[in-house]
């Protein structure tokens, strides 16, 4: 490898005397430093090299790091006896090596972020706070970003299987870790567009008509990228998530009546942000599983909001199942006037994130009522979320059940049906 600066000029004459492949270097304990000792030349060089002062000087950094050949080391050390300037520099550089240290795997505790930010905001209350309904998204995107922090190419291209339920069937698709981030970027883009921000898809797919729903957008992104997604998707994903948190902060806490269109349905802005937080956590778990890292569930108060969103979406999902003929009962729903109490299922979620929800079974317009309770299901919070993410089959969900079996089956399948690509 001849460099532009006449490297051949000094490599040439000596090249035949140096081994082409440097000898293996003695292994050094991580705690110690691979420093040659001035008094001890280490491996003796069989043939002293005749190198110019400039070349010897240029070798000082490599010498201090024990990163040159034995012959070069010997030549440098012989030179240091004669040249005061080089000896001074050699001493300084070797001291500098003493300041280097092996990288410590100092993974920041993800919970530290919340603690630090809360203590700041206690000391100086923000004039423009992050709305409470956006806090889970803020926290989950930060956690996922921290997970991605030290990923190398092997991790970015690790295969991931995305799983969800469609028409009561477990469905899945293969992608990579980078593909998952591209998916999050594409679907978070729905919120960005609703807020009047740039659509990340416009850049990715060029002039193509922006697709409507989460699956179509993801497909469009995956299909039109010229290459499989790489780690380069991380920065745009993170920038967009920061921009979303920032922008919704200026809505003043209310969602301003804004609806985020998801293609065949829509969600109010504050629910869409919760939905995106939920998806971020679910896919972070997919990624963590793919690369064999541990990953904790969200903070209980954030998890509680996500569960609440799913519980609120269940009545509509139940009505859709009935329309599609998937309902276990097969009978037409009883008519319940909107706002009136109707047959209900008590959903009891255990754990710190838990609570109880009365799910109206006959009509999304009906009000859940303890007086008309026909069934009671109890699940752990994380288990319920895995069910709603399509990661646990409804038949296998670890749920305590009492009461109307068909109603319970319907609700569990409706929960799984909330999942999507």
């Amino acid at each position: 490898m001849n460099g532009p600066e006449g490297f051949a000029a000094h490599d040439g004459p000596h090249g035949d005397r140096e081994p082409r492949i440097p000898p293996p270097r003695a292994s050094v304990e991580d705690s110690g430093l691979p420093l040659p000792d001035l008094a001890d030349p280490g491996e003796p060089a069989p043939v002293p090299l005749d190198l110019s002062h400039d070349v010897l000087k240029s070798l000082l950094g490599a010498w201090a790091l024990a990163a040159c050949s034995a012959a070069e080391t010997a030549a440098v050390e012989e030179h240091l006896g004669d040249c005061g300037a080089c000896a001074d520099e050699a001493r300084r550089l070797r001291e500098a090596v003493g300041l280097l240290h092996q990288p410590e795997s100092l993974d920041l505790d993800p919970a530290l972020r919340t603690r630090v930010l809360e203590s700041c905001l206690d000391r100086r209350p923000p004039r423009i706070p992050v709305p409470r309904w956006a806090a889970p998204y803020d926290a989950e995107t930060a956690r996922l970003d921290a997970l991605l922090q030290d990923f190398g190419d092997a991790e970015w291209h690790a295969p991931v299987r995305l799983r969800w339920f469609e028409a009561d069937e477990a469905t899945s698709r293969r992608t990579t870790v980078a593909g998952v981030i591209a998916h999050l970027l594409s679907v978070d883009g729905l919120v960005a567009v609703a807020l009047g921000l740039d659509d990340p898809l416009t850049e990715a797919v060029g002039g193509e008509q922006a697709a409507a729903g989460p699956a179509a957008r993801t497909d469009a992104f995956w299909r039109t990228s010229h290459f499989p997604p790489t780690r380069s998707v991380r920065a745009p994903w993170r920038e967009q998530s920061h921009r979303l948190v920032r922008t919704v902060s200026f809505t003043g806490g209310g969602a301003g009546g804004l609806t985020v269109p998801y293609g065949d349905f829509g969600l109010p802005l504050h629910d869409a942000m919760l939905d995106r937080a939920f998806e971020c956590w679910v896919h972070a778990e997919d990624i963590a599983e793919a690369v064999d890292y541990p990953y904790e569930p969200p903070a209980p108060r954030h998890l509680h909001r996500m569960i609440d969103l799913a519980a609120r979406m269940l009545p509509v999902a139940l009505a859709e199942r009935q329309r599609a003929g998937l309902s276990a009962t097969g009978r037409p729903p009883r008519l319940v006037t909107a706002g009136e109490p109707g047959r209900s299922l008590r959903l009891e979620i255990e754990g710190a994130a838990g609570g109880e929800w009365l799910i109206p079974l006959d009509s999304p317009g009906a009000v859940g009522s303890a007086d008309f309770e026909v069934a009671h299901v109890a699940l752990d919070g994380v288990e319920f979320c895995r069910l709603a993410a399509g990661h646990v089959p409804p038949e296998e969900a670890a749920a305590g059940q009492v009461g109307d079996r068909e109603a319970i089956r319907d609700v569990l399948f409706a929960a799984a049906g909330l999942s999507r690509l």
């Binding site: 090596v97 300041l99 920041l108 630090v116 423009i128």
Partner: protein, 193 residues
């Protein structure tokens, strides 16, 4: 990490947003600098929980006093590092002094040993900051030689540069690093201790 890519505009806007009391800006500030702050504090204090505490103090300081940053004096990253250094050394001094002979203010030997401990911790933290903020090609060369134990010829191949260039980078990187020992402080870092 890639602070060279961040235009000063980001620093300026961040300061404005913090001054305006935008909580979202505080979150972004944390996401960008928390690992730097925590690792510098850990380097000085050698203790995880103490480093957590300093991290909390640093962000509280920046959040409460965004106006004390002067963009003309250098990048926000350097200022944050400087605040971290100052608060970490303060805490080290406080905990070490508290451990001195109870009742008294400590013997001369104890005080001298405290000072030399503080000095060593300062140099180590400055060195980390220098490595952290030196041009990426220099850092990559040092990492190959020091962490991965590649010799300069192998490093040249890994980096796709000439052997001359690999030697130059190793030497220049160490020259920069050696300034951590100097009584003065590296450019763009500001004085602390």
């Amino acid at each position: 990490m890639a602070q060279k890519d961040v235009p000063p505009r980001w620093d300026h806007k961040m300061q404005q947003r913090l001054a305006r009391g935008e909580a979202a800006a505080l979150g972004e500030l944390y996401d960008r600098f928390a690992s730097l702050v925590h690792s510098l504090a850990h380097r000085v204090l050698g203790d995880e929980r103490a480093a957590d505490g300093v991290t909390r103090e640093v962000f509280a300081h920046v959040w409460e006093h965004p106006d004390s940053y002067d963009p003309k004096q250098g990048p926000l990253r350097s200022w944050v590092a400087q605040v971290t250094h100052r608060l970490a050394v303060q805490r080290l001094r406080a905990t070490e002094s508290a451990a001195l002979t109870p009742g008294g203010s400590g013997s001369v030997e104890e005080l001298e040993s405290l000072e030399s401990k503080v000095r060593r911790a300062s140099v180590a933290a400055r060195a980390d900051y220098i490595v952290h903020s030196m041009p990426a090609p220099l850092r990559a060369a040092l990492e190959l030689a020091y962490v991965q134990r590649r010799d300069y010829r192998q490093a040249a191949v890994d980096l796709g540069v000439t052997e001359d260039e690999a030697r130059r980078r190793l030497r220049l990187g160490l020259q920069l690093l050696s300034t951590a020992h100097d009584a003065g402080t590296p450019r763009g870092y500001g004085g602390a201790v």
